[in-house]
């Protein structure tokens, strides 16, 4: 079961951490609709992470709240791209586009997983993520094709975040077992399908993916090696929980 737990942990942690980052746009979005969009995506992601933590709990891990709020940074399995600060709106939109396209594909693939409890959740979540991808595609195209400044900021964001995005596909030590048992088709396959989807959208948006010879996937997140940005996020996220961990909500 360790291979399934590892898969669930990294997915749940990605959703929880990026969900928290999304929520940091609440009240600060550049226009009201965007404020609402990022807040809604935050709610979706945190809800989805809770459902995955529940699957982990069913496999003998601790309660979802305990798992979400009491671990330290080095016990988290999220990819580094999810923990980076929001920066400007171009950066947030670009991360949203790169991450959510990958996540939607991941859940699409998991809808056929041989691990039925996860397949059931995936069949539901993939439909929800569709809206995240619609939103991301709309804004990438809009900002990529709008003014010189918006285009330049989007290209800068893409250049800066590219290696972090590749870190989403960091392979697990259980990769072979997951593939063999039909639990998940694996990170390599996911990355290839992801590239095939994002490439035409980026070129429609006049944006250029960095040259392949320069790619250096920023890995480590899946094994608990994080940037200095994660611990402060966790401290803030768990501040209320830690005041009274046994409180009934």
């Amino acid at each position: 079961m360790n291979h399934i737990k590892e898969l669930l942990y990294k997915m749940a942690d990605d959703l929880l951490i990026l969900g928290h980052r999304n929520s940091e746009w609440t009240g600060l979005g550049p226009i009201l609709e965007e404020d609402i969009a990022f807040s809604s995506m935050a709610q979706d992601k945190i809800g989805q992470s809770q459902t995955l933590f529940q699957l982990l709990h069913d496999l003998g891990e601790q309660e979802p709240d305990t798992v979400a709020f009491t671990r330290n940074a080095n016990q988290f399995h999220n990819a580094i791209i999810t923990e980076l600060p929001n920066m400007d709106y171009a950066f947030s939109i670009m991360r949203h586009f790169l991450y959510d396209t990958a996540d939607q594909l991941r859940f699409d693939m998991l809808a056929n997983s041989s691990y039925e409890p996860l397949a059931k959740v995936a069949r539901k979540v993939k439909g929800e993520l569709k809206y995240h991808v619609f939103h991301a595609n709309t804004w990438v195209k809009k900002l990529g094709n709008a003014t010189e400044e918006s285009h330049a900021r989007m290209q800068t964001a893409l250049n800066e975040i590219w290696d972090d995005a590749l870190g989403l596909f960091e392979e697990s030590t259980f990769e072979e077992q997951l593939i063999k048992e039909g639990v998940f088709v694996g990170e390599v396959e996911l990355k290839n399908r992801w590239l095939a989807i994002i490439s035409p959208i980026l070129s429609d948006s006049m944006l250029t993916i960095p040259h392949e010879s320069t790619w250096k996937p920023n890995i480590g997140g899946r094994v608990g090696k994080h940037t200095e940005h994660l611990q402060p996020l966790l401290d803030e996220m768990s501040e209320v929980f830690k005041i009274d961990p046994t409180a009934e909500w």
Partner: protein, 161 residues
């Protein structure tokens, strides 16, 4: 002893906490009702969205309603065994949404595309000369639209597969 049909009927008065014109039965989120013995009922529900914050509240509302009609042992659980999709809304449910000023979800055939959301029928004037302003709205299950004919902003209930 009550029949399964009577239980379903009793549940028709339990409304969605966000949309007071719509019952949870018409919403299609109650997926199973089973009588398990004298005064013992088991109910399965499934959320519209995984992150819906009203799930616990709705479980309690169902349980309270069944206790009100004299069932002593009620078990309500939320599962993804039969996931919700927007085609599960009943015909009456669609009318209730419209009454509340929400555009009902477009019927889908297994796939949601951006085109499907582009010209949702305005719940106020019936025009299709509308545009989607955002796929996100005040709750996870709603999107925001604008009608170019009656010049009203309106919300739509999202189609979901």
């Amino acid at each position: 002893m009550l029949t399964t049909n009577e239980i379903w009927q009793a549940l028709e008065v339990v409304k969605d906490p966000e949309i007071p014109t719509l019952s949870m039965v018409d919403m299609g989120i109650i997926t199973k009702v089973e009588i398990r013995g004298e005064s013992n009922v088991y109910v399965e529900m499934t959320p519209t969205f995984t992150g819906c914050p009203a799930i616990k509240m709705m479980e309690n509302m169902v349980s309270d309603r069944l206790k009100e009609i004299g069932i002593t042992t009620v078990e309500v659980i939320t599962t993804f065994d039969k996931p919700w999709d927007s085609n599960k809304l009943t015909a009456r449910g669609l009318i209730c949404l419209k009454k509340h000023g929400l555009a009902p979800p477009v019927k889908h055939e297994g796939e949601i595309t951006q085109d499907l959301l582009a010209h949702v029928e305005c719940p106020f004037c019936g025009s299709k000369n509308t545009e989607m302003k955002s796929p996100f709205g005040p709750t996870l299950c709603r999107s925001m639209h604008y009608c170019n004919d009656c010049l009203q902003a309106f919300e739509g209930f999202k189609p979901v597969v």
